[in-house]
């Protein structure tokens, strides 16, 4: 029996090494690391038809020819497992279909700050042409970002920015969304009443500032009173559910008029808790964020008051195009001498019963769900 076990272990060890070899060598065929990037400073402008009709734009300036030269863009999110990633993957698929010479590599730090920083370094070492980043911490990635910029790689941050100066920041849904939600809810409560905030996990409040936006607006321009700002661990729906049930025990009917949720998962959890406690008749105003399909359906059914819808598809498509622009013009914060990061604010559409049908018809989410 002992010999069998020993033989088995040895075979398994050899198998892994073989698998290692196979998986690595086999894999190289698909990606094209072998060919050195053609430092085609002087590539001739090719008039390849581009969907967006930039006929003949060719090369604007010092960078690469984004139509013909092989372009590598790194996409580093908080983690690839999540609601919003489905749409983002769709964006990359469409983008690559239009620009076949572009390859977008998605990394997955799995909510670990050290892994995210080593991934940025990885992108620098592998000489990517641009880095699209969802920073996990506003300060921790600064050093890596500045190194990338110095290495001539434009860094574009989305939603969660970084204090270091970098090429581009698309301010998405968080602080602004909180403020907008504040406006809508304050109007619904006609400026009085008390509310609860079910906020991002404690350690990620810095990068998910919806709660802060909402509270700042409420304090600044209404008489609404904040009861509590509670963080929901892991942004998970079941934690929101249990936390909300406890809060409902604490705040009896009449003590609570509105609940602002930092994400739609949390909103669904809060809704479940309210229904389970049999208090859905009280007309507690529930307001979500980002606009996932389940919440849009709940709005249609009148269970949730509303949410801020941002067209994630357009959101990331813009970032992709900005990246191409920077690659083509070869501009980075260093070459352009920026002293502050240029920020573009994304459009937010507050959704409520009135425009929910229109939004659902337009939203990529519906399209994605319907597959």
């Amino acid at each position: 029996m002992k010999k069998v076990k020993r033989a088995l272990t040895l075979i398994l060890l050899v198998l892994t090494v073989a698998a290692l070899l196979a998986s690595c060598t086999g894999n190289t065929a698909t990606t094209t690391p072998g060919t050195p990037p053609s430092a085609s400073a002087g590539a001739s402008p090719s008039g390849g038809g581009t969907e967006s009709g930039q006929a003949g734009a060719g090369k604007l300036g010092g960078g690469k020819d984004i139509y013909n030269d092989p372009v590598k863009i790194a996409w580093i999110p908080l983690s690839t497992a999540g609601q919003v990633n489905q749409v983002i993957d769709l964006v990359w698929k469409d983008a690559v279909r239009i620009y076949p010479n572009v390859t977008i590599t998605a990394f997955d730090p799995g909510y670990d700050i050290n892994k995210q920083i080593s991934m940025i370094n990885e992108a620098i070492t592998d000489k990517y042409d641009a880095i699209m980043l969802l920073a996990m911490d506003t300060a921790a990635c600064n050093d890596a970002i500045t190194q990338a910029e110095k290495a001539g790689i434009p860094v574009l941050t989305v939603d969660c920015g970084a204090t270091a100066v970098h090429t581009f920041h698309l301010q998405g849904t968080d602080y602004g969304s909180g403020q907008l939600a504040g406006q809508v809810v304050a109007k619904a409560l006609n400026n009085t009443g008390s509310y609860l905030v079910l906020d991002a996990p404690a350690e990620q409040k810095a990068i998910g500032r919806m709660g802060a936006g909402f509270i700042d607006y409420m304090n600044a321009s209404t008489q609404c009173k904040m009861l509590e700002d509670v963080s929901i661990p892991n942004w998970s729906q079941e934690n929101a559910n249990t936390t909300m049930r406890d809060l409902l025990t604490k705040y009896q009917p009449g003590q609570l008029q509105a609940v602002y949720c930092a994400s739609d998962d949390i909103a669904m959890g809060a809704l479940q808790a309210i229904q389970a406690a049999g208090r859905d008749k009280e007309g507690i105003i529930l307001y979500g964020n980002v606009g996932y399909l389940p919440v849009l359906n709940a709005i249609k059914a009148g269970q949730i008051y509303g949410t801020n819808y941002s067209d994630t598809y357009a959101h990331f498509y813009t970032v992709f195009h900005m990246a191409l622009y920077f690659i083509e013009t070869g501009t980075t914060a260093v070459t352009a001498g920026y002293t502050a990061t240029p920020v573009v604010y994304d459009t937010l559409i507050p959704v409520d019963k009135s425009n929910v049908d229109y939004i659902m018809s337009v939203s990529r989410y519906a399209y994605v769900q319907g597959q």
């Binding site: 076990k5 272990t9 983690s79 690839t80 497992a81 999540g82 609601q83 990633n85 489905q86 993957d89 997955d108 906020d199 404690a202 509590e228 700002d229 509670v230 963080s231 661990p233 892991n234 998970s236 729906q237 079941e238 559910n241 249990t242 936390t243 049930r245 406890d246 809060l247 409902l248 025990t249 604490k250 009896q252 998962d265 669904m268 959890g269 479940q272 389970a276 406690a277 399909l293 389940p294 769900q369």
Partner: protein
């Protein structure tokens, strides 16, 4: 004083003291704690990792551990959601999803059992490795995305329906599962064998107990419990993905430890595991009712675990073991030669 230590010595004495302390604190600060709706919300909150704690109990009784409960739950949740979605939410799709999920759990449980018994690898390392592997597999299968469950069919009922209009299904399943585990441990021959193997594996072998088989089955039971928890979670959230039940092993381990279970095996029962899960639930509920800012929760949880376990260790050593053990063995402390 002797009587007090005696009273604190036995597990029930300790549990009662902890509950009395909590009741006093809450009576002073937040009377709403005693509302019946609060108790049902606590029960719902702990039902998921209560089920997993009952499963983990089988493994802890043998002196083992299972760190992969979280990933297992995510696996079965994803399998169930995908099979339901792909089959158009038919009952058949639901059934195959459940069976497939449980089959996957049984497979992983068997792998755990074989590696721990025949290859003699410590359970900590085996389950740490399978935690990574299973998470990776779920990522592969779901492509990293969450599977949405749209239909309100049987899958929805699993997590959200209410028995007799009042008791949510997860609580019902938790109570049934706890009773089932109590019966298995307390009333069946397998339960007797499990306690024997946990207490003294060599002696059990000589009494005809197939110790390796018992260990294997208990790892399978632990995996299945994690799987059931995952499936209920999928139906409660109407979605499933790689990070479903993220970090659940922390709660389950805490429940085990606070429930007064001794991690070296051989001691403790379903009541201990359930009390542990209940205590974790009550603590979380208290923290919210008392308005403790969320930033402090991890710190307070850590301090409470240390307090509960030290109380448990101090009293049980004082009242039974400590004095007796000292006389049996030659004096432990001998002067250091250096």
């Amino acid at each position: 004083m002797k009587k007090v230590i005696g009273f604190l010595g036995n597990p029930w004495g300790q549990r009662l003291t902890i509950l009395v302390i909590i009741a006093v604190v809450m009576a002073v600060f937040q009377q709403n704690f005693f509302r019946p709706s609060n108790f049902s919300s606590i029960l719902l909150a702990i039902s998921l990792y209560g089920i997993m704690a009952c499963g983990m109990l089988f493994v802890v009784l043998l002196g083992g551990i299972d760190l992969s409960v979280g990933s297992m739950a995510a696996m079965t949740a994803s399998i169930l959601a995908m099979s339901a979605q792909s089959s158009g939410y038919t009952a058949a799709g639901f059934i195959t999803g459940v069976l497939l999920g449980l089959a996957a759990c049984v497979a992983v449980g068997i792998v755990h059992g074989v590696l721990v018994t025949y290859f003699a690898i410590p359970a900590f390392v085996v389950t740490l490795a399978t935690k990574y592997i299973v998470y990776g597999l779920v990522l592969l299968v779901t492509g990293g995305h969450f599977v949405q469950i749209i239909d309100k069919g049987i899958l929805y009922q699993l997590g959200n329906a209410r028995l007799f209009g009042a008791i949510p299904m997860p609580e019902v399943i938790f109570i049934l599962y706890a009773v089932l585990c109590a019966v298995i441990l307390g009333k069946t021959v397998f339960g007797r064998r499990l306690y024997a193997t946990g207490g003294n594996p060599v002696a059990s072998k000589l009494v005809g107990v197939k110790t390796n088989g018992t260990v294997l089955v208990s790892y399978v039971i632990c995996s299945i419990s994690a799987g059931i928890g995952g499936m209920i979670l999928a139906s409660m959230n109407m979605q499933a993905g790689p990070t479903t039940a993220g970090g659940y092993e922390g709660n389950v381990l805490t429940a085990m430890v606070v429930g007064g279970l001794n991690l070296a095996g051989g001691e403790g029962g379903v009541v201990g595991a359930i009390f542990g899960a209940l205590l974790v639930g009550i603590i979380n509920n208290m923290l919210i009712l008392l308005g403790v800012p969320s930033d402090y929760t991890t710190f307070v949880q850590g301090v409470i675990i240390i307090a509960a376990v030290s109380l448990n260790m101090y009293t049980s050593r004082r009242s039974q073991g400590l004095t007796r053990r000292r006389t049996k063995k030659p004096p432990e402390k001998i002067p250091v030669t250096r």
